[in-house]
Symmetry: C2
Subunit: 454 residues, 2 copies
Amino acid sequence: MNLTNYTSIDSYLETHMDESIAELSRLVAQPSVGAQNLGMQECAALVAGMLRQRGFATEVMPTAGAPVVFGERKGIGNQTLLFYCHYDVQPPEPLELWETPPFEPSLRDGKLFGRGVGDDKGHLVARLFAVDALLSTLGDLPCTVKFIIEGEEETSSVHLHEYVRNNLERLKADGCIWEFGGVDHTETPVQYLGLRGICYVELSVETSSTDVHSGLGGSIFPNAAWRLVWALNSLKGPDEHICLPGFYNKVRKPSGRDIELMDALPETADFYKELYGVKSFIKGLTGGVELRVEEVFTPTCTICGLTSGYQGPGGKTVQPAKASAKVDFRLVPDQEPAEVVEQLRRHLDANGFSDVKVEQLGGEPPARTDPDDPFVKLVCDTAVEVYGVPMRILPMGGGSGPNAPFIHDLGLPVATAGLGHPDGRGHAPNENIRLDLYLKHAKHMARLMAEFGK
Amino acid sequence: MNLTNYTSIDSYLETHMDESIAELSRLVAQPSVGAQNLGMQECAALVAGMLRQRGFATEVMPTAGAPVVFGERKGIGNQTLLFYCHYDVQPPEPLELWETPPFEPSLRDGKLFGRGVGDDKGHLVARLFAVDALLSTLGDLPCTVKFIIEGEEETSSVHLHEYVRNNLERLKADGCIWEFGGVDHTETPVQYLGLRGICYVELSVETSSTDVHSGLGGSIFPNAAWRLVWALNSLKGPDEHICLPGFYNKVRKPSGRDIELMDALPETADFYKELYGVKSFIKGLTGGVELRVEEVFTPTCTICGLTSGYQGPGGKTVQPAKASAKVDFRLVPDQEPAEVVEQLRRHLDANGFSDVKVEQLGGEPPARTDPDDPFVKLVCDTAVEVYGVPMRILPMGGGSGPNAPFIHDLGLPVATAGLGHPDGRGHAPNENIRLDLYLKHAKHMARLMAEFGK
C-alpha cells in the first residue's frame, strides 16, 4: 500500500462531513457525566457499537469504576498505532449559561456546541472518520489500529493505571496519539510533549449537628465556613506561594531546551485577556516567555468550588453546620499526588485544622515524552500539508491526564494531535468545536495512519 | 370589666385548641419566603382576613417592599397595646433535611412542624386566639389592641423604619409586645430587653468572564474563590477578632447591672453542646456568665453562606469566574449598620481587595428597653400564674430585629413574651413549636390584655 498523495482520502472526508457530524451529534446527545454517574454504561455501549461497525474486535471491559472500551483492527503494516480517548464528559453545570442545552448538540456559525463535543467525543469520532476514509479508499488499514476509550478521564482516571498494568500485551503498540490537541490562537497546531499531574481533593468541615440561628451560633459556636476559609487561607496566600512544607522539594525547573522551546512560542497575554475577560495575571506577570513558563512549569493550588450555608437570593441569618471546598493541585515532574495528600494532612494538623477532613477525589503523576522521538517527528511531519504550517512544540502542557501509564508502563512515545481551538470552552458552558478543524484533524490522522504503516 | 380570675378564659382556650392550630396550619401552608419573593401578597391577604373576621379595622398597606398589615380594634380601657408580628418566613432550604415538607404543617409528639410555625406565624395566631377568648368571654376587648404585621422581618425589615416614621399617629400605643419570646432550657419564660443590630452584606468577586479550565486558569489568572477566601480571612482570623478599623469604637461594655442580670441566668454550656452537637465554644470559653455575656454583648462577624464554582458530586477541574459570601455582623449599642458598611469598604480597599464588591442586604441598629419600665413589670407579673415561675430578665438578646423604630421613634417600652422553646429550630430545617407553650402564650396574652385595660 503506497500513497503518494491524499487527494482521494481528502475528497472522501470533505464529502462525508455531514454523516460524521451526525454520528458525533448522536454520541454527544448521550449524557455521560462521570462525576454524576449519569449514562456511563449507555455511552460505553454506544461507543463499542461504533467500533464494531467498522470491523474492530471490540470489548467493553469492566473496571472498579466506569468500563473501558477497547477495540483493535489489524492493518497491513507491522506498526501499531494506539489512540487514547475517553467517552466521559464534565458536568454541564451551570446550566443557565448554556445558549443551547448541553446534551442537544447545536450547529451554528460553523461550530458544533454541546457538552463533550470537543472533550473528548469529537476527537474519537473524527479519528473513526479517518478510519472510514482509509477503509473506503484503500479497502484496509495501513497499520494496526487500537483504541482505548476510558470513562473516567474527567474524574482523574482512577482505575486506568491498574487497567493498563493488567493489559500490557493487549495495549502493546509503537506509538500513541493522545485524547486531545488542537490549534493555538494563531491557528497553528500544537504538539504537547507532557502533562502536569493532578491531586484533586475535597476539604470539608462540620462544626455542629444542625445549622444554627446566626444570632446565637455566630457568637459562641465554631463556624464551619470560617474554619474552611481559614484552613484554605493557610494553604496559599495572595502571593500565590503554596505553604505545604516540602511541596516544592521535587519540582524540577525547566531545562535550557524547555525554555528555548517555550521562547519560540507566540505571545499569549492579550489573547487570554480578551478571550477570558481577565484584567491582569497573577504574580505580577504581564506576558512573554515568563507567562508561558508559569502556565505549565509551575505547580498550582486551585479552588474549583466552595459551598456552605445559604446560597439563594437575599439574606438568611444562619450559621452553617458544614462547609466544603474542591481543590486541585497541578503537579510537575517529579511531584507525586500521594505525597501531596500527606503534606496537606500534616500541614492542616500542624496549623490547628485537624477538624478539616481531606478526601482525595483523584490523582495522576506528571509525565513527559522525549521531543526527539521519531514518532513525534512523524506526527508533526504529517500535519504540515493539512495545516500549512509546522506544528509548534510545547515541551509541557498545563492540563493533566493519565499519560504516565502510557509513557512509563507501556514505554510508548505519546504525541498529541487534535481538533481543539482556544475558544472551545472545555469544562465550561457552551463547549464547542470548529467544523473546519474537525475536518483537518481527520485528514491529519488519515495521513498519520498511512505513513505509520509504510 | 373586672376579672378576678381567669378560669373561664383558660377554659375557652383549652377547649378550642384544635380550631386555633387548624387556623395556624392554614397560615403555615401558605409559603411567604421574603428572600425568594414567594407568596408574599397571598400571605398578607390571608393575615388581613384573619384580623377582619375578629372585628379589627384592617388595612394592607403597601411599602416599597412587602406590604404591612395593620389592624386595630378599640377596647374598653384607655390603654393601647401594640403587637408587632411578621408574616414572612426564612427560606426552607436545605429541603432534604426536613422530616416532613416545610409548607405541609405536621403534628407529632405534641409539636407542630413547618417553616414559620414559630417564627413568627405561631405567635400571631396564638395572640389572635387570646383575643378570641376575651371576646367570647367578655364580649369586648379590655384595652385597645393594634397589630402591625410586616413582611420583611427575615430580610432585615428594610422598609419598616420608614413605615413607622410615616405612621406615628396610627401606631401610637402605651406598650409593645415583640414578635418572639419563649422559655429557656429550664422551662422558664424569658424577658429580652434588647436586641442586637445587624448589618447583612454579600461580598462578591468576579475575575473572568467565564469559568476557565483549571489547568490554564489556575496557573496564571486570578481565581475568584481564592480572592474571596483571602478577603474574608482579612476580616477575621481564628482569634475571632474583627479587623475592620474602628469596628469596636462605639461598643458599650455591659454595665454592672447587666452583668448582675446575666449572672442570675442558668448555665447553658452543656445544654448547647448537646442540642447543637457542638464540641467546644470559640475564644476558649467553657461556660458560666462569661459565655452568656459573649453570646449577647459582643458584636460578631458570621459567614452565613459561601458559593463558588463546582459544588456537585465528585470533581470538576474548573477555575470559577465568580465567588460570593453572605456575611452578617451583629451589632451592639451604639454601633450603626451604615458605619460598618463604610468600615468594610475601606478595609477591603486598604488591604488590596478593591475587586471585592460589597452589597448591603439589610441593616438595623441595636436598641434596648429599660428593665424598670412598669409595662415590662406587668408583662412579667401576668406570666407568673401561667408559667408557675417568674420570668427571667435578659438585659439583651443575641438576635436582631427592628425594635429601634418602636423604642426610639414611637417611644414605646418593648417587652417580649412568646411560645418559643430552645429546640424550636428557628431558621433551620424542622422548625417547630410545642403545643403546651402555644396554649400558655395565649393564656399569658389574654391576662396581659385584661390587666393592661384596668
